[in-house]
């Protein structure tokens, strides 16, 4: 009997550690709106302390997933634990442990920046002394100290976003949810917001769950990324691994007879993977610069003319293309393949 108990404890221990690591865990989480399935049986987990990104085109189900995790929507099926609490049965505990920055600004524009923070602090039951010092802290974090007495309706888009980030951090959340944090902001402001997000991830040790449809954003910020499309998760891995799965370097080329060249290249073992698209081929390789002459030689030998060729580090654009066969930004496929190739060749 005793040994049995001990065994039970032993087997329970590593399990417990694991659940501590998974600060968000979903199992077959599903949301249907009538006949339309916005989120389709997704299961994933987010580690404590990391920046996790949900990457996908508009309408992929990112916001719906967030809304379920933050208890604003009830899932149709499946379940999820956030900070160790069930999102349906322990709503209030979940709400206590999370901060949210919504896609559209959710500030009271008739109040000042400080008043918005004060409102939030009181809604979360933060005591008077704590409230004051914490407001100072978060204002300093997003550099809004000098604008605290200005009505939010006079804030710029970037300032509003910063204030919302500050507000999301007010109550020391374990997890901060950011839904498209830089949507509609200019390039400079985006950079600044990224820095704030990184800073709070480090300084406050906050786990961050963000959604975005910007590749560069996910690339720059996230430790791990889940690519979501049509309500389903296509792949989840670290940013690095995702890029590696495509190939260390990516050669993109267009030629006169793609099929012929492709079947020839498939015999070469230094090519990790070959994908053909409408008007171009991509080859995942190591040391891409050295491989270009080899590709040329092979092509010449079988009498295929190479029209253009480029090599570069794979971006998340390439990753998305690799896993979905489609580009992210434009869903109209045929034309974009060409556009993309132009961008690829021109940009490198």
């Amino acid at each position: 009997m005793k040994t049995q108990v001990l065994l039970l404890i032993k087997s329970a221990l590593p399990k417990k550690e694991r659940t501590n690591l998974d600060i968000i865990k979903t199992t077959n989480l599903t949301k249907k709106f009538g006949d339309f399935t916005a989120v389709d049986h997704i299961s994933f987990s987010v580690n404590d302390g990391e920046i996790f990104g949900f990457l996908g085109p508009n309408g992929a189900g990112k916001t719906t997933t967030i809304k379920m995790l933050i208890t604003l929507l009830n899932p149709t099926d499946g379940s999820a634990d956030v900070a160790g609490f069930d999102i349906i049965k322990k709503r209030d505990d979940v709400r206590e442990s999370i901060g949210v920055v919504f896609q559209e600004p959710a500030l009271d524009t008739q109040l000042t920046g400080r008043e918005n923070l004060d409102f939030h602090a009181r809604m979360y039951g933060i005591s008077k002394d704590k409230r004051k010092s914490r407001i100072e802290e978060v204002l300093a974090l997003v550099d809004l100290k000098d604008k605290e007495e200005v009505l939010v309706k006079n804030y710029s888009g970037g300032m509003k976003r910063r204030l919302e980030i500050a507000r999301g951090l007010m109550h020391y959340p374990t997890i901060l949810f950011l839904d498209e944090p830089t949507l509609g902001l200019d390039a400079q402001t985006r950079r600044a917001i990224w820095e704030y997000i990184r800073k709070m991830n480090k300084e406050e040790n906050t786990t961050i769950f963000l959604t975005t449809h910007y590749m560069d954003e996910a690339d720059y910020l996230c430790d791990r990324i889940g690519i979501i499309d049509h309500g389903k998760i296509i792949v989840i891995d670290s940013t690095k691994n995702l890029k590696n799965s495509v190939g260390n370097d990516l050669i993109t080329l267009s030629c006169t007879d793609m099929d012929k060249l492709r079947s020839r290249l498939e015999k070469e073992d230094w090519i990790k993977n070959i994908k053909s698209y409408d008007s171009f081929l991509t080859l995942g390789v190591e040391k891409g610069e050295e491989k270009i002459p080899m590709v040329f030689e092979i092509a010449r030998a079988i009498d295929v003319k190479i029209k253009s060729i480029s090599v570069g580090k794979p971006t998340l654009d390439d990753v998305f293309l690799h896993f979905t066969g489609r580009l992210m930004r434009n869903q109209e496929q045929d034309s974009t393949m060409k556009d993309r190739f132009k961008a690829h060749v021109g940009g490198r």
Partner: protein, 259 residues
């Protein structure tokens, strides 16, 4: 209830106060409009005799409680409906994701709206007294305040129901014209109906289906002690029931509308 909930109720209330204080046009509109009714309509027709009025009463005395009711009704409904604004501007999400019970959110908002409309009601009451509207007694004044509070709460609840059933601002004007105006005109706030033999029987009966009638009647009976149909105590019971029902309905719809 935890102290956290009280703090949330307080800050919801405070927010309503601040927003009101900063909206100059709203302050002007909500005070000037009933004032026009009272001073111009009431004073102009002061010596007019309406069929169905008490003999000892002049028109201003009849009208004043009706205008107080009107001001409270409009202002409170506005607070209820302003949930729609919050939804449109996204702020409602910030409120709903906080670890606070839905009830506290509604209570805070209702208290805020009720406070504002009561302030307006008292300003008009003061003006009415200044213009010479007689007060039955100090006790009656207290009773009047109770009616004002109940009316305020009912109207906020009504506003919440409307807000949860409307998805945009276009419907707002329609509601005001098609719902509020008939309610007001058939409440005997502006002229006597139930006791006015000039009206067809059907219309006089219609009054008894109008919740606002009992509030105006109770307010009038308790404030001036004249021109009332039911004894204020009877009105009070009816109004209390309507108030509880409306608040319940408002909370129910508010709870349902977010999920």
């Amino acid at each position: 209830m935890k102290s956290k909930e009280f703090q949330a109720i307080y800050i919801m209330w405070l927010r309503e106060m601040k927003r009101f204080a900063r909206s100059k046009s709203r302050i002007v509109a909500t005070i000037v409009q009933p004032l026009f009714f009272l001073v111009i309509l009431g004073s102009g027709l002061r010596s007019a005799v309406m069929p169905g009025m008490d003999v000892s009463s002049d028109y201003l005395t009849f009208l004043a409680p009706g205008i107080i009711a009107m001001a409270i009704l409009f202002s409170s409904m506005f607070t209820g409906i302003s949930v729609l604004w919050d939804r449109q501007f996204g702020f409602l999400q910030e409120v709903l994701v906080a670890p606070i019970s839905r009830l506290s959110i509604i209570v805070g908002r209702t208290l805020g709206g009720a406070t504002l409309s009561l302030i307006q009601g008292f300003i008009i009451l003061a003006i009415a007294i200044f213009l010479g509207v007689p007060i039955a007694s100090a006790f009656n004044l207290l009773f009047t305040v109770i009616f004002m509070v109940l009316l305020a709460f009912t109207a906020v609840g009504f506003g919440l129901v409307i807000a949860s059933k409307m998805s945009d601002f276009q419907g707002f004007q329609i509601i005001m014209n098609l719902l509020l105006m008939p309610l007001l005109f058939l409440s005997s706030a502006l002229f006597p109906i139930a006791t006015n033999q000039g009206f067809p029987e059907a219309i006089r009966m219609l009054v008894f289906l109008n919740p606002l009638f009992f509030m105006v009647d109770g307010l009038r009976g308790s404030l001036t002690g004249m021109n009332y149909y039911f004894a204020p105590a009877i009105d009070f019971v009816i109004v209390l029931a309507i108030c509880i029902f409306m608040m319940g309905l408002g909370s129910y719809f508010f709870n349902k509308s977010e999920a």
